[in-house]
Every structure is written in structure tokens, then in C-alpha cells.
Amino acid sequence: MKLLRGSISWIYALLVFGFILMPVASLVVFSFQATNLPLPPFTGPSLRWYEELFADSGMVEALRNSLVVGVVSAFFSTALGFLSAYGLARYRPAGARAIRAAIMTPLGVSYLVIGFGLAITANELALGRSLVLVTLGHIIINLPLAFAILLSQMRDEDETLEKAARDLGANEWVVITRIAIPVVVPGLLAAFLLSFTLSWDEFLIAFFLADFDVTLPIEIWSQLRTGLDAKTNAAGTLVFAISVVALTLAYVLNRAVQQRSRRA
């Protein structure tokens, strides 16, 4: 009986994992297809579509745009998140609860509505669509997350260090740059990498706000119109690989952060 229950569990788990992994597996496997269609039978392995991908100037351009938008927006989300988390935790300004709620609110609104709101606002102000607008859009969707991560990292023990430094004559600038920032470096990196990954993948806001210069998800989207194409598989696999690298880094750093909290 016990054995039967055990094997039913394993069969069920295997089936669900098959379901979870099947699309990703199809994507990656058929990116190495030697013929045109990314459909069975598998004719590879071949790197042909990766070569074509890097020969496609539109794709390479979009890849570069995505990297720039991701890095710049993640930097600003993290910086703004840090300043506000630090200000709230250390200075406990009047209305702290309201401030926290205000910064967190965008998290409860779907990207569709945020993107649409930014698009009509830009339209009203006669601002042309551009990658700058996309970057601004990505800053606002990632700010609440960066803020929440960093607020969870503000610990009272660190405040003691800061007080000691002030007693020894350090001014606010020195306290922030020499103590407050260094002690939350893992949290800052985790917030940055998560923001980067979400910007890197983001479609709807970029779709509303980008013009001729597009990000990678938009470029892939426009290639979908031509139907199934092994080159799209190669692009998708590349996006997947970069996300895996960024998220693995974030995961490792997050573990370091948690170990730090546990020690404390």
C-alpha cells in the first residue's frame, strides 16, 4: 500500500514536471534545428540559427536596447528604492505608513493599465514614444519591488553602527556612503538583478511606449507574425539563458542575505 502510494506520487510528479518543462524543452531543442521549421523531427544539432540571429541587425539592435533599458531602469529603481527604504527605516518620518503604501501601490495595478496610462499621458504632453519612456515605465513597475526588498534589509543593529559613526563626528553623507550602503550590498544587488530581469522580459509597457527602436520582446513579437521560425527559437533560448544567469545570481545573493539576517 505504502509502496503503491509512493509510486503514484512519483508518477504524478513526473507528469506535472513533463508538463512544466515541455514548452521550454521544445524551445531550446529546436533552436538547434538544422532545417527551417522548429518542429519534429529534430534535424540538428546545428548552430545555424544562432549565426542567423547574430547576423540580423534588428535583433542585435533590440538585444542591445533591452540591455541598456534593463540596466538603466534597474539602477534607478534600486537607487530610489534604497533612498526611500533608508529614509523610512532610519528617520521614521511623519506619515511613514502612508508613504509606504503610496510607493507600493503600483504593484497592485496590471502592466496593461500602467502602460496604457503612461501612453495616453505621453500623448497628452506631446512626448514622442521612445526608449526613454520605456525606461521610465520600467522604473515605476520595479520601484515597489526594490523598495520592499531593501526595506526588509534595514536592520536596527546597523542603525547602532550609524549612531556610533555620528558620535565620532561623521556627517550624514559619510554615514550613508561608508556604512548604510556597504551593509546592504547583497540586498542592493538582489534588487538590481530582479529589476533587470523583469525589465528584460517586459512586453506590454514597451509595446505601448517604444517607437522604431524596440526591445527584444517586441522584436520577437513582430517576428512571430511570420509564423514558427527556428530563428525565433534561438532568440528565445538566448533570452532564457540570460534570465537564468541573472536570476541565479539573484538567488545566490538572496541566500547570502538570508544567512546574514539569520546570524543577526
Binding site: 512544466i20 521550454v24 518542429l39 523610512l88 528617520y91 496593461l112 528565445g236 533570452v239 537564468v244
Partner: protein
Amino acid sequence: MINRRSWQGWVLVGPALLVTLVLFAAPMVMVILTSLYRRTGGTTNRTLSLDNYLRLATDATIHQALLNSLEVVGLTVIFSTLVAYPLAYIIAFRVPAKWQALVLLLTVVPFWTSYVVRSYSWLLVLAKNGVINQTLQSWNLIGEPLTLANTRFATVLAFVHFFVMVSTLTIYASLRQIPRNLPLAARDLGASPFYVFARVTLPLSIPGVTVGAFLTFVLAIGDYITPQIVGGGNELLLPQLLMLQVSRRGDFPLAAAMALVLLVIVAAVYAVSAKNLTLERKR
């Protein structure tokens, strides 16, 4: 002194608040304002009126899209929970503790693939000559290939694929918080394994189910990509109809009213379930 510190605090949170005000609050006000305008002919009439809301209340196409959305998302919530619960249970109680983190990591692989790419990869699997059809044909289970892509089935399947991951995580978190001695005590007092599950384990894991279902609902109802790529244009969901107003008709006012309907639905679901939305153990 306290006032000065409070003031310094405001200086530090100021930039984030300003950014939130300019990039979030102002656009939301614009959405509300725009929903009160009217698109007539090729121009936008800026006299405020409730015309768009009247259209939302009476237009059959819009009703159908809203109904489609609620049905698709409802099916998604039900099936993701049904698939995720046993998986979370197996991971929490059958997989050895040191392997659990790794197995959970495998569960979230779909999250690591990008949004557009994930939907595209379902097309590879579901296409006329895609992985499923070719496999079934090679086993002689079917003669003609099945139409799988561009259907409601495909949309729900692709949604369930993503949200199984979300619900597995939240249900797992709930199951792990159940003190092990509660089910053991029930067993010692003579309860059958099924009775223990139905009266002890399941009720204690309901918070995880609720949080997972809530996240699924909120994220799926506003999604445009999955229905558009996998489900095709055969039956429109509300976000697809909204995008049509923007891209084809340039009818921003009607689109704005639809966006607010989406916001209100999410807010209503949040209000109803807010007090149950916590994974922390009640003490």
C-alpha cells in the same frame, strides 16, 4: 530635533514619492479623465460624459469579452489549483527535506523564460504538426492532427502552465507551516489517513490555496500576451478588446473605461479576499 529628523526622512523618500506621483498617480488620473471623454468621428470630444460607461453596460461584444475573460480566468484558477495542490503536497511531505529547494526550483523554470517566448513555445507544442500532434500520430492514437492552437483550450492550458508554478509555491509554503504533530496526533486518536487530510491538513493549507488563487486571478485577468499569441483572435478576452481599441480604432476613451473595469474587478476581488491573504501563521 524629532521634527528635523522627520524632515530629513522626507528628503530621502522624496525622490521615490515624486517618481511614483509623476509616473504612476498622474497617468492613473489621466486614465480616469480620458474615460470620461468621447471618441466621435476621428476626434476626441473633451466634454465630460458617462457615454463610455453606458457603452460598457450595453454593448454585447464587450459583455462577451468580459464573460470570456472571467470564464478563462476562472477555469485557470480551478485547474492550476487542482494540478498544483498534489504537487505541493508531494514536495512538502514525500520529497526529502534537503531536495525540496531543488525540486521547487525546477517547478519555477517557466518563470525564467520570458513572457512572449513562453507563449511562443506553447505554439511549438500545440501546432498542427507540433510536438503533441506528431507524437499522438506516431503512436497511431489519432489520424488527423487535432486543432489545439488558437482555441480557448490553448489559452487555459498556457495560463495553467504558468500559474501551477505560482500556486505550488504558495500551497507548499502553507503545508510546510503545519506543525507535524497535528496530523500525527489525529492518527494516534484513530483517524484514517483520508480523514486526517480532509479535517486537518487541507483546512490548514487553505491560506496557501487562497493566496495562489488570488495571484492567479489578478495576473491572468490583465494578461494580453497569452490569449493573443496562443489563443488567437477567435474569441477575444477583455485585454485583447482593449488593445484593439488602442491600436485599430484609436478609441482611447473607451479603452480607458475598459482599463478601469479591469482595475475595479481586481480591487473588488482584493477587497473580498484581503483578510485571508496571508501566508504567515496566525498565532
